[in-house]
Amino acid sequence: MVSAMHLTLALNNREMVTQMDHDLLKITNLEVLYSVDDDLVRAVNSVSLKLQDKETLGLVGETGAGKTTLALSILGIVPNPPGKVVAGSVEYEGIDLLKLSDRQLRRYRGKEIAMIFQDPMTSLNPVLTVGDQISEVIRLHNKVSQSDASSQAKNMLELVGIQSSRYGDYPHEFSGGMKQRVIIAIALACNPKLLIADEPTTALDVTIQMQILDLMNKLKKERDSAMLLITHDLGVVAEVCDSVAIMYAGEIIEQGSLKDVFEGESHPYKLGLFNSLPDIDSDVERLESIPGIAPDPTKLPKGCKFHPRCKYCTEVCVSINPEFIERTFGHFIKCWHIQPPNRGNTV
């Protein structure tokens, strides 16, 4: 019955079905708290997010915005204590991951959903060869012999641009960029449908960063994976993402396609972020910085979380947290005073 309905829809409106039917990941009203001493840190506040098959979503925000916590909660690896997912759901292909036991979750981790961590220097095991670390994940999720696993691991090394003869080398024998390639090989070894990459190039130099972004773009296309890319760098987002969500103080304050977010209407915080960036394609005398600092997550302000730093703040902002409003199709903004598209010389 349900599938018949979908079929009709599919015939009528393919795009509609893509919207409805192919949400690979659907996060609804997620809330994550950390209890530190006697304080409650509200790291993620009622966040909803959808990711479709093959989509690359950039999750952007500054230090402490809650990006990494959001990613960790997808895989059920928020450190507990002190962290705790207190509300919401994380549906992956229709199954709520938050309701699964650790044992059931292990089938997803590394196989369906893989993660690339920020720091390539510390996320490899220093006493295992890189080859063993790649074949470990293959053997964990597939019934294959050791020799099959190692030949697959060698293929993975070649795929990320490392000679397979380096299978037996240890992490310390690789440079930062090469280590990150190894980590990408581990993440992709089981052909995950969803890749979560937490600041994958932040620790790397720009020329190496470009090599890695290029590699990730290529592999993502070849393997049809979806990706959640966490970054603070809007430049990286412009290079690889299809859509963008911007986080501030544990909330998503704007979300939409790359074009919507880069060139459409704007949350004042996003406008501030863009104006704070020195741009190599234009000249400005002084950057327009955002005054103040991000709020203390144990004492989040009432109303809109950004209001103490916002130059458009009015009374309503102080008392009532705005709704997440769909301004144009698929472009959501959470603000009482949405700003017009800005294509001034500083953006």
Partner: protein, 320 residues
């Protein structure tokens, strides 16, 4: 404009088990009073070592440093003590470059005590508060400790400390790279305001090309201890002569959709700075490499007026 700092053939080698590590190799440049020289390059290219050698935080292996008309290549320790009043540094990491057991006012005021510049306690406190105001720290932070403050405020303390003795010259080593962009813009603006108000001369060391473009008058690009290209900022961003500078600039992720993205992907990674030999150090990764590049090292030459580059094939690949 008068030249405040002149560096000639500066070298800094570190001995290692496998030979000499050429951290800074034969670098020469001048910085005019009140201007900013940006030094860009990737990790390990020797840019921080260069900044430290100029300030005598590390002693040079050879070469000449002339500051304000005086040769300070080999200063006596008494002279160095005096020189430090005029040459200061802002460090990269606002988390580890401040003493956690000193309060904000103690950190900012320490240089005043070392140089004994205040007549009495009242004058000292007045100077400290004045400095705090200059760098945008509210008086209420006077007795707080660095761990109570965020990165942006901590970097303001570091800047306040550097400016305490009214120096002429400040080496800024990645002062904003540990900060979020919204805070980074606040600090960059502060540094520009201070430069205008006090006529400061900066050497601004960074790996962030957008930042260096924003703040510098001249830019020097380093690769494995050597200067590969130098010119004024406008000219360099319009035309890059050296293949490394071309690749570096094309690799900047740009936060806009209306630009063409022609990335030049380099092969491989930085080679070793230990005993690099008489070759072009970039040759291994260069898309234009020819035999000559691995036979001898190219010299820095003025290819266009005021625009220097060190590459054997620079005229050929730029159609000059």
């Amino acid at each position: 404009m008068s030249v405040l700092l002149e560096v000639n053939e500066l070298k800094k080698y570190f001995p290692t088990a496998s030979g000499m590590l050429h951290a800074v190799d034969k670098i020469s440049f001048k910085v005019e009073s009140g201007k900013t020289l940006g030094v860009v390059g990737e990790s390990g290219c020797g840019k921080s070592t260069l900044g430290r050698v100029v300030l005598h935080l590390l002693s040079a292996t050879s070469g000449q440093i002339v500051f304000d008309g005086e040769d300070i290549s080999k200063p006596s320790s008494a002279r160095l003590h005096e020189l430090r009043r005029n040459m200061q540094m802002v460090f990269q990491d606002p988390f580890s470059s401040l003493n956690p057991r000193q309060s904000v006012s103690e950190i900012i005021g320490e240089p005043l005590l070392i140089y004994n510049v205040c007549k009495n306690k009242e004058e000292y406190r007045e100077r400290v508060l004045e400095l705090m105001e200059t760098v945008g720290l509210a008086q209420r932070y006077e007795n707080t400790y660095p761990h109570e403050l965020d990165g942006g405020r901590r970097q303001r303390i570091g800047i306040g400390r550097a400016l305490a003795l009214n120096p002429k010259f400040v080496v800024c080593d990645e002062p904003v790279s540990a900060l979020d962009v919204s805070i980074q813009a606040q600090i960059l603006n502060l540094m520009q305001d201070l430069q205008e108000a006090r006529g400061l001369t900066y050497i601004f060391i960074t790996h962030n090309l957008s930042v260096v473009k924003h703040i510098s008058d001249d830019i020097m690009v380093m690769y494995l201890g050597e200067m590969v290209e130098k010119s004024n900022t406008k000219e360099l961003f319009a035309t890059q002569l050296h293949p490394y500078a071309k690749a570096l600039l094309s690799s900047i992720p740009r936060a806009r959709l209306d630009v063409k993205r022609d990335h030049i992907l380099l092969r491989g990674e930085l080679s070793s700075p230990v005993e690099p030999g008489d070759v072009c150090r970039f040759a291994q990764r260069c898309n234009y490499r020819k035999e000559i590049c691995t036979q001898n090292a190219p010299r820095l030459e003025e290819v266009l007026p005021g625009h220097f580059a060190a590459c054997h094939r620079v005229r050929e690949i730029n159609g000059l």
